[in-house]
Amino acid sequence: MTMAARNMKTGIAERRLIEEAGAPGFAHAGWFDKARLAALDSFEAAGLPHRRLEDWRYTDLRQILEKRLARVEENSGRSDAPAGLLDAVDAYVALIGADGVEGDFSALPEGAEIMRLGDVLDEGWVRDAMDASVFGNTDAPQAAAIIDLNTALLGGGVAIHIAHGVVLEKPIHLAFSGNGTRHLRSVIVLEEGASACIIESHQAGANAFSDLVSDIRLTRNASLTRIRIQNDDRSAIHLASDRIVLGEGAVLDGFLMTLGAAVSRNQSFVRFTGEGARATVNGVYALRGSQHGDHFCLTDHAVPGCESVTLYKGVLDEAATGIFQGRVLVRPDAQKTDGRQANHALLLSREATMNAKPELEIYADDVQCAHGSTVGELDRDAVFYLRSRGLDEASARQLLISAFLDEVFEAVTHEGVRDILRVIASEWFIQERGRHHE
């Protein structure tokens, strides 16, 4: 049965998405066909999320997609800096398009594999990683529901497996680009004691709709550094959900930079299943024009003795909107949890908007948790001070913006990428202001 042949009760946006996706090309593993149909049913029943759902209060996806599908936007451009700068990083590069994974992986060490997801769908580790039941009692079902859309319409993706004890010295760079609508899945599994750094760059074209899900499993004592730079065209829609499970003693060092897309929503679901694990889920967003960037982070401490840090910092210029919805959930057994979460935003214009909702939900008593949220403007006294020393106004503001964001860059462990992030940030304000005033 093809997707289009199903009798649909859903709205225009949903139907368009399903028709566009057509019959998915790659997946005929029995288990997945079933999972796909089940996901389609629940997606059809629930429909696209809308603002009456608390988790989607600030990002009405139904309305956004309905509007977007009704008309084609102009290419609104983007900064070329990230793509160019990242080329300089010595890495195993995999180009991820709508229909495949390209790259020369012959130099990968024994035990490290990068594959087309469709080719390995039947393998146990892939199936386990894509198994949502570990998130079955997620505390954010409304947010997680959108993953059904990806499962139902999945058209491709990448699978990465790092075997027991393998330490990858060079990073893997997953370069996402392309146009149109893409529903892609990344499955990343690090077996016991394995270690890797995975960089993702996103450069989707005008009007692209990227629907991405990453299923990540870090087995006992595995360690993953994951750095993402989202720089889609400013007419694009970017939807990304990460489901990350950390076993005993595993370490996740995650960083996201949101620069592009008209509308972006990043969801991170982190779940600890073994003691003594540590997760950093950090991010920086720099948005302008009418860009809308939503960051949703749920960290689920299901077992004792784990540590999580979420630090987001953002700058919003012109009429941009930033959203941060964070929740640290500490379940009754999760004693000795250390959970910290904060979002700090700078508004550079009166038209910019920030909505922040950090929450702690704690059911254990012996824990250390903290959260914070601030929204401010550039310090006018500091701008005057720097100008009185000869810096022009844009340079003074840029210097203060870079200084504000630097705390998050400082925590990025890959030195080469950290420098690149700093360059991108240090040029963002001046470059864009310059462009707008040409």
């Binding site: 005057f384 009185s388 705390e407």
Partner: protein
């Protein structure tokens, strides 16, 4: 160098300076003294071009040009330097990065071209040494966690690096113990030259023992109520500002 005529300045709709006349020749050092709230800092901000200080009457000529037509950074490039009464803390920006950015911004504006890293470092070391500004201080975020003395020494270092032709020092002595006062005043005296003029704002006479002025003016209630030579400062030390405050009210 500087020619101020009948200057009236309003802040938040309130007139603070009510007709100031002041003329400073090249190489001269003028002290401005006066009670708290008399408008000393306001005068310094007007010269630096800070937002919110509105000139409602009168004129300021600097090297023969209308200063009020220039924005803050243009005034800095033209040679105005204001050492703040309360230097502002700038977290995340190291003092060294800030100094390099400032020096090169000013050099470019003056058509001198940027200094490369090596020549810049040499220049900073040379100017920092007599002010006891250590490498460790230069690595810290600008003014963040600096003691009162460190902040003032950092201000004088900036002044030395930016090579201004009019230095305005706003209560540079406040918060300094006697040793720090000596270091700072020695630093300022080293910068005295026939091409460089200075306005030294202070509440107390003691700074003027170290930085000896050519002229002393008493500012009270937004007006210069008395001018004289350095003896005037000694007189004030004895009699206080009470007489002048009464005049102004």
């Amino acid at each position: 160098m500087l020619e101020i005529k009948n200057l009236h300045v309003t802040v938040d709709g309130k007139e603070i300076l009510k007709g100031i006349d002041l003329s400073i020749g090249a190489g001269e050092v003028h002290a401005i003294m006066g009670p708290n709230g008399s408008g000393k800092s306001t005068l310094s901000y007007v010269l630096a071009g800070r937002d919110g200080y509105e000139v409602t009457q009168g004129s300021i000529l600097f090297k023969g040009e209308d200063l009020t037509a220039k924005n803050v950074e243009e005034r800095a490039a033209a040679g105005i330097f204001l050492a703040l009464q309360y230097p502002i803390e700038v977290p995340g920006v190291t003092t060294m990065t800030f100094l390099k950015t400032a020096v090169n911004a000013i050099r470019v504006a003056r058509g001198e071209g940027e200094l490369d890293a090596v020549r810049f470092l040499k220049l900073v070391r040379e100017k920092a040494k007599p002010l006891n500004v250590t490498d460790e201080m230069l690595k810290r975020a600008l003014n963040v966690g600096f003691s009162g003395g460190e902040k003032k020494r950092a201000e004088i270092l900036q002044m030395a690096l930016l090579d201004p032709s009019l230095c305005v020092l706003d209560e540079t002595d406040s918060g300094l113990d006697i040793d720090a006062l000596k270091v700072v005043s020695d630093g300022v005296n080293m910068l005295r030259s026939p091409e460089r003029s200075m306005i030294v704002i202070t509440h107390y006479q003691r700074l003027l023992d170290h930085i000896v002025p050519d002229r002393v003016h008493v500012l009270s209630g937004g007006r210069i109520v008395k001018s004289g030579d350095k003896e005037l400062a000694l007189e004030l030390e004895k009699s206080g500002y009470a007489d002048y405050a009464a005049d102004a009210a």
